[in-house]
Symmetry: C2
């Protein structure tokens, strides 16, 4: 099963694009499962399916078209890829960068949470598109992976710069600034990016993980006025509005994976009892790449 930052929002009682989790009921979320019994001739025992019934060991579905259950092809890669590069995080990166961000070859791209499930794919799609890519991550190991494995141009450990990410950022980009900032973090990262955006730059608002556990209001970027003087566009998006791009995404991503252009990192926790630990790790930065929980036998 997948653990994802967006689940944190579902732990607050409020109107949003997904309903909150309900007290006394199991959590849910994306998972890959193996069919162990079937009365639906579209699904045979042994088939692998993608469903929204994570956070449990077994589940029942009628497999109808609106059940959200779809068969996956285990020959395309390890089955958990459908929770990652072939799944929601991969599509998020693809839609954000290409559809919302309208990425152009040769641009300078900044990515925060760059070694995460979404960020790492953003970095590598941007590299595949011939861009200069700068990534921010939270440890030396992540920075090293981004440069040596993901092959981006520059990466830094933001924890070394505390409140002054902006000064660090000012030293590293090419030419006169950043064309596209893919924001997974918000807060000080968004503020630093605003300082260094080029005129007519685009900021893709995908996530703001720095704020999800805040217990009091967190100040927004003090320099938001730069969005006017630099004529910036800031745009938020939710991946599920773009499921019509799934086929195009699968075609491109399969090609990039086959060409060796996409490296992938996972942190796997074992057992449902460790799912809360896995989830909390997302916010502590203890995860690396896609965070997964393996439940039951292979």
């Amino acid at each position: 099963m997948s653990v994802d930052p967006y689940m944190r929002g579902r732990m607050t009682e409020r109107k949003s694009y997904v309903p909150p989790f309900e007290l006394g009921k199991p959590l849910d979320g994306a998972c890959i499962s193996k069919v162990v019994e079937s009365k639906n001739n579209q699904f045979a025992v042994g088939d692998y399916v993608l469903g929204m019934n994570g956070w449990r060991e077994y589940w029942i579905s009628d497999g109808s078209s609106n059940s959200g259950v779809t068969k996956i092809d285990p020959n395309l890669g390890p089955i958990q890829f459908f929770l990652g590069i072939f799944g929601m995080p991969g599509l998020t990166a693809y839609v954000g960068l290409l559809k919302i961000g309208q990425l152009k070859e040769g641009e300078t791209v900044l990515v925060s949470a760059a070694s995460g499930a979404v960020g790492s794919v953003v970095c590598q799609i941007a590299k595949a598109k011939g861009c200069y890519v700068i990534g921010s991550a939270g440890s030396k190991e992540k920075v090293s992976w981004l440069i040596n494995d993901a092959g981006i141009d520059y990466a830094f450990n933001y924890k070394e710069f505390k409140d002054d990410i902006s000064t660090e950022l000012g030293k590293v980009y090419q030419s006169d600034g950043i064309d596209l900032y893919f924001d997974n973090v918000g807060g000080k990262h968004l503020e630093a990016a605003l300082d260094h955006m080029k005129t007519f730059g685009r900021i893709i608002l995908c996530g703001m993980i720095s704020q999800y556990n805040a217990t009091s209001p967190t100040p927004g970027p003090a320099n938001i006025f730069l969005a006017i003087t630099k004529r910036l566009k800031l745009q938020g998006f939710i991946v599920r509005d773009y499921y019509d791009m799934l086929n195009q995404f699968h075609a491109d991503m399969t090609k990039w994976v086959n060409e060796g252009k996409i490296k992938w990192k996972e942190t796997v926790f074992e057992g449902l009892e460790n799912a809360p630990k896995a989830f909390i790790a997302l916010f502590n930065g203890e995860n690396f790449g896609k965070t997964l929980v393996k439940i039951g036998p292979d």
Copy 2:
């Protein structure tokens, strides 16, 4: 001559879309002037011209194509209209609403600094386009003018609500929120608007007058995360990037003015010696509509 909020930015030494004013030199800005002497046969004595040589009584130009001096037609309306509804503020409203904001008929529109030079035109173009228009302004008189003269649907005096503009706003819009927010103010207004935007709403970042005199960093919107969950687009713009729309703008604006759809309010200060007072009035909210300074005889 015109006094405009953007001039405040030119009083800070920093890189921006217009160079800062220089110490020991006159300020400058848009003005309408009468030709008193001419050696250029394109300009006759008595002609009226639009130039960028405000903050002085007389000025000299060769009138060449890159001098920024253009003849205006005094038959189209009072000459100062070319500093207002037919000039930069009018074009700003037009570009922001129609080009950047892609305004659609019947939408719910929120405008801050709604009785100002830009805001009042925004309100009335939106009304001409069949929208439901809500305006925020800083006095009872302005609110009354917005409803009774400009004919918008709802207006409120934000000073009555201090830090809780959001609650007031929650009471006044139609259906499920605001489609388009035209921001001239920033700060608490932007935060309140974010609270009440519809999914896929657009925020046009035109000005942030609440922050121009700040002596320390002003916190940005604490609820900027709503831009993600509501899939909002926030876009800054500078009118001079859109001078190619000037002809289309003049055609539409002349039509609207002739149809009586655009009401106009001015605050005129007399004499160059009162220009600083006029400028400061912009930030105190003592102005009403377009702020002008009349220098010399008619």
